[in-house]
Amino acid sequence: MTSTQRTGQQPRRLPPQPGEVIDRDRTLQFLWNGRRLSGYEGDSIISALAAAGEQVFSRSFKYHRLRGILSATMHDPHCMLQVDDEPNVRAAHRLLREGMGVTSQNTWPSLHLDLKAVTQLGGRFLAPGFYYKTFMWPRRLWPTYEKVLRQFVHAGRVDQSARGERYEKRYAHTDVLVAGGGPAGMAAALAAAQAGARVMLVEEEHQLGGHLRWANSAGAAELADQVRKAEGIHVLTNATVAARYDGNWCAVIQREPAPGEPERILKTRTGSLVVAAGLIERPYIFSGNDLPGVMLSSAARRLIALHAVAPGERAVVLTANPEGDAAVAHLERAGIEVARVVDARTGGNVRRARGRKTLQQVELTDGTRIEADLLVTATGWTAPTALLNMSGAAPEYVPQAARFLSSAQPQAGVYSTGGLVGDGDAEQLHQHGAAVGIQAAQHALRKRRAAVAATPTGVPATENESPSSPGPVAPLPVPEHPELFRSTTHGMVDFSEDVTSRDLESAVREGYESSELVKRYTTVTMGPTQGKFELVNALAVIASTTGKTIAETGATTWRPMYTSVTLGALAGRNYDPVRYSELQPWHASHGAVPLVAGQWIRPEHYGDPVAEVKAVRRGVGIIDVTPIGKLDLRGPDVPKLLNQLYVNKWSRLAIGRVRYGVMCAEDGVVFDDGVTARLGEEHYVMSTTSSGAGAVWEWVEEWLQTMHPDWQVHVTPVTTAYTSINVAGPHSRRLVSRLTEGVDLSAEEFGYMRVRTGRVAGVDESILWRIGFTGELSYEIHVPASYGLHVWEALLSAGEDLGVTPFGVEAQRVLRLEKGHLIVGQDTDGLTKAYSAGLDWAVKLDKPDFAGKPELVWQHEQGSGHRLVAIQPVDPGVVPEEAAQVLFPTGRIGGRITSSRYSPTLNRSICLGQVERALSDPGTVLDIRLADGRIVQGTVMPQLAHVDPEGTRLNNDTGPEAPERWADPVARGSVPAPGPKTSIAGWEVSTEQSMAPLTLADVTPLVKISVRAAPDGVTADRMPAAFGQARPWGDRLLVVGSGPGEWMVLAEPGERAAALNELSEILQDAEELTSIVDLTHGRALFQLSGESAAELLAAVCAIDLADDMVPDGAALRTNVAGVVTDLIRHDEEGGRRRYLLHCERSSGRYLHATLLDAGRSHGVAETGYPASGSVIRR
């Protein structure tokens, strides 16, 4: 080695090479197994180690054989190292950093003295299937085996004390996604961008260029430069397109995208996918082919060209192709002695490699032995067709080329170029790539134009017209390559799993003839390399053993992900919406134990549920029942709808009345229940169970839209437009009357199952229902949600002398169980038909039709199914578990306990249960099997109610009291206002103003009026905005076309009357059903302003927010962080980007917190209420 400069620290470093990627002015120090070494900026960990003269980096999985460089790429199975606290680092890819602590893995006590390497001696006994066969029997010894085997696990150390890392996911949208930044990929990207497409070019390595970097570094640099300068190409290096799913939905894995973020997944929707993954060089099978010093020709050339590292001192080159020939020249140019070139095309071949720790001698098949420390092989290629296979393609093995080739396009929008389709010189590759790029761009732009045209918010762009016909793509020549897989000896096939060609032969001989079975039996291709190096070799060995061709043997399946991905990146940030009532902060600060009920967080109790029950029975209690579903129904045909959906009758519900109803699905199973009130001639409010609110709404819409589009009904969900408070107990009338104006609360005027509207604690438009889930005199008060806290606190203060007590969900459950009221989903399940839920009285089979009728007729005739009954254990102190079995005397199971509690009112245990008809007669004594196996007796009661079966408590006729004066109500936004506060039109808002470039403000106080009408009627014609648009209406209103036949009118706080006036003016004599519902209190509304607003939203929203899809003045509804959210682009005066987002009010806190968190990396700041008028005005 005369011409190489050898420094003491980096003995293998070569003089400067053209195109090298290291910066010799920046030396980095690092530790290798405790030893201090140095490298250069731009080095990979492995290239720095190789420069320092290291040849051995790891030990293999099964036999603990010493391993050096194989491919010197990210996928090199021998170069997985521990870096500080991070195991399994792809060290031939990871860039060196100052101060890194690098250690080898899977070695004990050290890399060079490895005790586990004794398994090498016993290698014969570690035949395929060894684990399956050896460690199965006797079964009781498995825990011992497991402990021993664990010592052999091939992996690094995980630092248990490591602090958490942050992983994000983002959505991305592009027209053309190019996987691979080699010559063909770059040409495709350039041509596609030229044709007007948005292009994302993803390269696995740190530089663009692919194999040109060592074959023609000047050419690589020039192309890369063109790509960087081209408009419309977004280049991601150190990233991989790891998966492709339906609709060209691709997982792009970005490594180290931001400081402190190890990996990120970009969920990318692309119009076209161009797969230009290049080729992976294939190892050759011979004895000793895994000795350190035996490497691929591309590895040797990479080391020399990119990192200026001599891969060895004296080389033998086995070549079967021009790339191998070029490697010979390359080695010689770098001053490395080439002792022998073995040309496989003329019959030369390597029999085995010998060496104690590293390569020392190469033996050829003609018997020649050559001393060498480097054996370079160039015997063919594996085509990484993974993304094409995931797209439905089946690339075929072409014997003439000795590799798989992708001939046909798998489906519209998926293309391939470069080495996957053929060979060629740089010019041919460039031409092919460019032609494919134009095709891909044209397909994507056609698709995009169609999408823009199909999207109500879309504005077709006039530019971006692609050139006319691209013409057919001239195919790349199919290469001629000898089929070379294995020499006359056996050697390693799968380097990461230690599977040899002998193992594969023996597996076939044992009867595993299919490649898929051999794979599972021997674990070939199942290691970290996932077939990238070993797939074709494995197929070739299997084929030659079975006597079939490789094409007949067939490849195993390539599945996502193509490359290794951290679990953190896959998990990403978790978006799990939670919902809160306006009162939840009050509950939390008053000792409430939180209860997770679906998405809702509710108070289970405030410390003593028994006391809460007693307070309700003896005095008065209040409970927050906001989660109860509420649907506002308007129109002349509401009674038809109610008759269709409920099993009972609804035709004669008078105004001011409330009725309980039960809904069944079409299979007769009880699906929801609740009370519905008639507020006006054509105005009803339906209540549903808390968990069923969404499903009932969908059910109602389904009937209206698909089965009875002729019915005139509008449905508006108003669940969280109101804060709902149930006031229950003998003193409830006294308490409510102290706050209520405009409603006569006397027993005669406001009887049971009646509804009234009035003013409560100064809050207008409150709705009061007299209903009784608890069995006590009670009023359910629904107040506009922004005033919820005001009214709750007013009730507590007005009822102090009455001992008013807040109670939680647990007390309510006890109270309703005492009264015998069932809970759908608790006392019923997915099989409980109406007659099994004790609802015989409600089902009216004489109605001509209702949902579930035919099945209920059937159940009625058969008399089948369980019966819901009240049960009291004979021993009043025993409280059976819920779901305890009810038994016949024979021991046969005859039902189960559905609800069970200790009743503080009766001082005994009480239950509801579903039992077979034969056990359901009152007085029947049942056996109940407890969880611990004991059997206790219970008695079936004559009716479901345990307490007050006659309902006398409802006859409470306490007189109402005179209303007191209340302080002016305060309305509050959907999140706590930060900093100093002021009042705007009765709303408490923050005056804090942030100057940050990206801000989030709670603008819930804006008036929000929902308008519903036919999508194509008179109203639709008259409204100033069409579906998908947000348009100013005068200078005080903004009209949003939020759905087909659905609008939202926004106005500054206090402008409600003005908005309603404008509406009534244009909508008078419209002569069609038009509903106007004030949702000011039902929606949380936020303003997100700043140029990077769309980038923030890309973390939480899958919609492409590009200017042609969602321009200024666009409105749409979609999922934002898991919450259904209306998104309005309403840029500010001066053009600053701004979005208004609104969702159900109860989701507001969650959405607000999530946007602030997702926007951390964009520097988003919370700000107070914006300057007056600035939200509506632009």
């Binding site: 339906d246 939905w249 929707r269 199909a454 819409e701 759905g1043």
Partner: protein, 82 residues
């Protein structure tokens, strides 16, 4: 991830929709026989190929829409029913 061509909103991710199964009209209650109801409620053809399905765009326009989907390729196009 599949996209569905919502006739109102344009192409959207399938996660915005709820699947309501193949299009199957509800029989009239009165003349319908028990067998007809049984078929309507419990029996599905489940063919390999194009099926006209009903989807609810719950996170979008909130309209019930009809989509013809090939159950083999997942290729979709607007359905014939409203």
């Amino acid at each position: 991830m599949m996209q569905l061509p919502c006739p109102w909103c344009g192409p959207r991710n399938v996660t915005e929709f709820r699947h309501h199964g193949p299009h199957s009209p509800r029989p009239e209650v009165e003349p319908a026989s028990v067998e007809q109801w049984h078929r309507y409620l419990y029996l599905q053809e489940n063919p390999c190929g194009p099926v006209e399905e009903r989807w609810y765009h719950s996170a979008g326009c909130r309209r019930f829409i009809s989509i013809t989907r090939d159950t083999y390729t997942n290729a979709t196009q607007p359905g014939e029913h409203p």
